[in-house]
């Protein structure tokens, strides 16, 4: 990836700065929601993970330039994400085992 014109470069610089501001604001939101303790635990978990996913999406899309990457890479990352969720769901499988025994 490279910049075609000075205007293109300026656009990228502005995007990076906007993402920085967004990440700072979202970090503040995460801490505020968690510290105020006005949400139930499942709700707090859902909000914290949702905000983390948005922040992660911003970093991956704009800092790692995933938004403008080649489709080959998307294929690899989709496989990676699928197996990541399989790993996360493994504890659930052990819960099923506990029920049946």
């Amino acid at each position: 990836m490279s910049f075609a014109t000075p205007e293109d470069a300026r656009k990228h610089r502005n995007i990076y700065l906007a993402v920085l501001v967004a990440l700072a604001v979202l970090t503040g939101v995460t801490v505020l929601v968690a510290q105020m303790h006005f949400l139930s635990t499942p709700m707090a978990v859902a909000v914290a993970l949702l905000v983390a996913c948005i922040k992660g999406g911003l970093v991956a899309s704009f800092f790692m330039h995933l938004i403008s990457e080649k489709t080959t890479l998307y294929g690899i990352l989709v496989i990676c994400v699928v197996f990541f969720f399989v790993l996360l769901l493994l504890p659930l499988a052990t819960e099923f085992t506990n029920v049946s025994t």
Partner: protein, 206 residues
């Protein structure tokens, strides 16, 4: 007699993957890292869900876990800022402004060191309070996940120190390849930031 071997597609995109080989390799490495941290997060969920509701083995909450949220929030901002300095290093190299890029890389190293110093204070406070990985499953998870992440930060510091120091000589004879190296190191660094983005709420806030 000496012969130099041309390494294919180290600057130009590979016809199959559509990107230069180094970048493709880093993405594959990052995919394996997702699996590594994924397994640890999975263990964390299993231990947390399986912990008893009450008693000494109960999972500590924000009132009892001895974690310093303000310090961790500062560390989150430090890592986010370091991600921005890395991306700006690459940006300035694209514009052929080497001095500005170097300043950004030095800022990244500085911010990474700040992160490690804060982590040192966090860890020493835990040890002072007699909290070790063997104390409770919660601290085992805390030290394993943050420790492994800290090792990744240390790895990043070493890579960036090389690229700012002896590795920077490449800019003079092969600027395109040097820019690619910064991009690859940057991808790794953004991943380290990404892991912390999920670690921070999971361990410190929930």
């Amino acid at each position: 007699m000496s012969a130099s071997i041309e390494i294919p597609c180290d600057i130009t995109p590979h016809p199959v993957t559509g990107m230069y080989n180094g970048k493709f390799g880093v993405w594959l490495f990052l995919a394996s890292e997702v699996m590594l941290f994924g397994a640890l997060f999975s263990s964390y969920i299993l231990l947390r869900v399986g912990a008893p509701e009450a008693g000494p083995l109960a999972w500590p909450d924000y009132r009892t876990n001895h974690l310093n949220v303000p310090l961790a929030t500062v560390n989150t901002m430090v890592l986010i800022l370091s991600s921005v300095t890395v991306v700006f290093a690459w940006y300035y190299l694209q514009l052929h402004k080497f001095a500005a890029a170097r300043a950004c890389l030095l800022a990244t190293i500085g911010l990474a060191l700040v992160f490690m110093v804060i982590k040192y204070f966090e860890y020493s406070h835990k040890f002072h309070d007699g909290l070790y990985p063997s104390t409770h499953n919660f601290y085992a998870v805390y030290f394993t996940l943050t420790g492994l992440h800290g090792l990744h930060v240390l790895g990043g510091i070493i890579v960036f120190a090389y690229l700012v120091g002896p590795g920077a000589a490449m800019w003079k004879y092969n600027p395109a390849k040097f820019t690619n190296r910064i991009e690859c190191a940057g991808l790794y660094w953004h991943f380290v930031d990404l892991v912390w983005i999920f670690l921070f709420p999971s361990i410190y806030l929930l």
